[in-house]
């Protein structure tokens, strides 16, 4: 592979779009110029990338990333978080609003958006808070955030549920004016006070306060009915239970405009890991049962769940060691998401690579209204491309992650696949598996 990363034309020789037959993908001036027969493309001054055997997908889009800046730059910054994103194959991430200060004004979302532009590793689409300070009491200035340079379209109080039914209804209605969507963190607060893990037989044995599935399902059921009533678009964050899948399936059958995401960790890990009391496995919503994992995988395959979204949640070491109850919930996700999709969805036969492209790029881009992302790999489209080597298997080394934090639940676990290169509008952000 050539080191001259600055040339404006790249030929991805022998790449297999969506895992299909090999072609030469030519990227020029930020766009896909052509998909030529394998081994035939040439262009003066072009950088040739040997993509033999590599799967080409449209650049991944994450609907759910915590970049922690402003406020917790010790855990992650826009710079380090977007580096992790690029290494994970992402060309766009949605930065969640629960920063300090909260992203509930045009000023804060523009700051995050600008930091993303300056870092240049991937596009950063800030998510705006639904309520002032995530307080759940008054609507934030959603229109001002939508009209800002950050062009916010996804609004979420993620980390907290918009539990007030009237406020949720108003938010759903209000964002219709600018084609926005409310991304709900579905968690009935009273049912989950002090909750530490999935409520079930294991929580009873471990003496950890339970987070019952019904606390998620009841909110989703209410919200899909609200969305239907007011004719609005609803997105459900990090769906974690089998029952939630059933409600979403029913809602979609009824024609309700609802989309949903699931995290990679809910597709791979289950609650049994909590028995170690190692807080690296503490996450919100919690890891669930094996039945839930299977139902979630099937729901992604069926399209009932639209997107795999990381909920990348970096935490400083001191917040993730010690007692379970005192640790903060959350796991890293950006650098391992595609590998887990491969293991949980592709290698199980549930999805092909085109399906992965749909759930990790096309649909999340559409939900977030990111026009330049999630586009097909064909001539004339923006050159947002990721090359992945599906044949590699590697152990996860927390020390080698680009994220500033180390709270990966996959330390030492062998995962399939490796992101070899990522291109953002024709410019490599990752080459040879390293930042370009």
């Amino acid at each position: 592979m050539s080191a001259s990363a600055n040339s404006s034309t790249f030929i991805l020789r022998g790449a297999r779009p969506y895992g299909g037959d090999p072609v030469d993908l030519v990227l020029r001036d930020g766009a896909v110029a052509e998909a030529a027969a394998a081994g035939t493309a040439s262009a003066a001054g072009a950088t040739v990338v040997d993509a033999d055997g590599l799967v080409a997908l449209p650049g991944l889009v994450d609907l759910h990333t915590h970049l922690r800046e402003p406020g917790r730059e010790d855990a992650e910054t826009v710079e380090t978080g977007t580096q992790a994103a690029a290494l994970g194959g992402f060309t766009a991430v949605h930065a969640m609003a629960n920063t300090d200060p909260v992203a509930d004004t045009a000023g804060v979302v523009e700051q995050v958006w600008r930091l993303g532009r300056e870092a240049g590793h991937c596009d950063v689409a800030p998510v705006g808070a639904v309520t002032v300070g995530l307080g759940g009491e008054r609507l934030a200035e959603l229109g001002a955030m939508a009209d800002s340079a950050a062009r916010v379209r996804v609004f979420s109080d993620d980390g907290k549920c918009v539990s007030d039914a009237v406020l949720m209804r108003r938010a759903l209605e209000y964002v219709k004016a600018f084609d926005g969507v409310i991304a709900q963190h579905a968690q009935e607060p009273r049912l989950t006070e002090g909750a530490q893990m999935n409520e079930g037989a294991l929580s009873g044995v471990l003496g950890l306060r339970g987070w019952p599935s019904v606390a998620e399902e009841a909110v989703i059921a209410r919200d899909v009915l609200l969305a239907q009533h007011v004719g609005s678009r609803l997105h459900v964050c990090h769906v974690s239970t089998k029952g939630s899948v059933e409600i979403l399936r029913l809602a979609k059958e009824r024609g309700i405009d609802v989309t949903a995401e699931v995290t990679p960790h809910h597709l791979l890990l289950d609650e049994s890991l909590a028995a170690s009391y190692d807080p690296v496995y503490k996450v919100n919503p919690p890891l669930r049962g094996k039945d839930d994992v299977q139902a979630l995988r099937q729901a992604v395959a069926d399209g009932v769940i639209d997107a795999v979204a990381t909920d990348h949640a970096p935490h400083a070491a001191e917040d993730k060691e010690g007692e379970w109850a005192n640790a903060l919930p959350g796991m890293l996700g950006l650098e391992t998401a595609l590998a887990i999709a491969q293991e949980a969805l592709v290698e199980t036969g549930l999805l092909d690579w085109a399906g992965v492209a749909d759930r990790l790029s096309t649909r999340p881009a559409r939900i977030g209204r990111l026009a330049g992302h999630g586009r097909p790999l064909r001539a004339g489209e923006p050159a947002n491309v990721v090359l992945v080597d599906p044949a590699v298997r590697r152990a996860v080394d927390p020390g080698a992650l680009a994220s500033r934090s180390r709270n990966t639940p996959y330390a030492g676990r062998t995962l399939p696949g490796r992101v070899v290169a990522t291109f953002l509008r024709g410019r490599p952000t990752v080459l040879d598996g390293a930042l370009a």
Binding site: E199, G204, V205, G207, Y277, E321, G322, W324, A325, N326
Partner: protein
């Protein structure tokens, strides 16, 4: 076995070894000079993140009677109240050379975390972690049952034990269910449905909502402390209603077999889960439990620090 984190960690043979050893320790306690030289030069740290005078004193007495040096570290008025993390506190104790750390913590899993972390090199003894477990309490309860019902020998096969009250929040109940199942007893948990954990049907015991139905057959009635704040969380309507349905008063106690005993891990709410005349009756083992606690904890420290558990484990395999 290096640590004692869960009552479920003990095999039947190991549990009986603890009880037999405790019996020997109790015999030695009848002597004029109670102290044994066994753990001379060893250091036992009592790391208490929660106030618990009775458990701490019991462990302290146990360690001292084995001639160990005892360091009491309580979270109040210590570096912990200045914001020191669990990890840093553990590393500090390790640097001081603790051979055993007896840990009491409000967070479930704290003892297991300490044992698995590698922060301390010595043995970890769980002296109560959140709403998880309290294995030495279960051992002293089993010891008490064995003395009263089985003349101090053998296991508890076929003995019927009713554990009554706030099982949901009780580490005593969890450890007792595990240990008593290992020792062959038939345990029935009795509580209002709100105070039983989801999934309790998978535990090695029976469940009842009806105390009156369970009492006539019971050899042991163990009452758990009911915290008054549970009322405000709507676990039950009022203390009076709780007492009416689940309290052991003299009338109910009359339904017990003559030989049946009444236990309570303390501290009691007289007039709530147990009536004063029952607590002070011949059936009551409440004061005896305290005395037995010292013998059982001596046995645990002796066996863990002496490495005696390792041999018994080898023999089983």
């Amino acid at each position: 076995m290096r640590h004692l984190v869960s009552a479920g960690d003990l095999s039947r043979d190991e549990a009986l070894l603890v009880l037999d050893t405790a019996h020997e320790m109790a015999g030695l306690q009848q002597r004029e000079i109670k102290k044994l030289p066994t753990l001379r030069g060893r250091t036992v740290v009592n790391l208490f993140y929660e106030d618990s005078t009775r458990t701490r004193i019991s462990f302290e007495a146990a360690a001292k009677r084995l001639s160990a040096d005892v360091i009491n570290f309580s979270a109040k008025g210590s570096s912990v109240s200045k914001g020191e993390s669990f990890k840093d506190t553990a590393l500090t104790l390790q640097a001081m050379g603790a051979d055993a750390v007896v840990v009491r913590h409000s967070a479930s899993g704290a003892a297991q975390r300490l044992a698995a972390s590698g922060w301390v090199g010595g043995s970890v003894v769980n002296a109560g972690d959140g709403t998880h477990e309290h294995p030495t309490q279960a051992l002293l309860d089993a010891y008490t049952m064995r003395r009263r019902l089985n003349a101090g020998t053998g296991d508890l096969a076929g003995r019927r034990v009713a554990i009554v009250g706030d099982v949901l929040h009780s580490r005593v109940a969890r450890s007792n269910v595990l240990l008593l199942a290992t020792l062959g007893a038939d345990v029935t948990l009795v509580a209002p449905p709100t105070l039983l954990p989801i999934g309790v049907e998978s535990w090695p015991c029976a469940v009842s909502y009806d105390l009156d139905a369970v009492l006539p057959k019971a050899d042991v009635v163990m009452l758990l402390r009911v915290q008054r704040e549970r009322m405000s969380e709507a676990y039950f309507p009022s203390a009076r209603e709780y007492t009416r349905r689940y309290g052991l008063d003299a009338t109910r106690a009359a339904a017990l077999q003559d030989s049946a005993i009444v236990m309570h891990p303390g501290p009691m709410n007289r007039g709530v889960e147990i009536a004063a005349e029952v607590a002070d009756s011949e059936r009551s083992t409440i004061v005896e439990q305290v005395a037995n606690g010292v013998s059982v904890r001596m046995a645990v420290l002796y066996l863990l620090l002496g490495g005696a558990f390792d041999t018994s484990k080898e023999q089983q395999r």
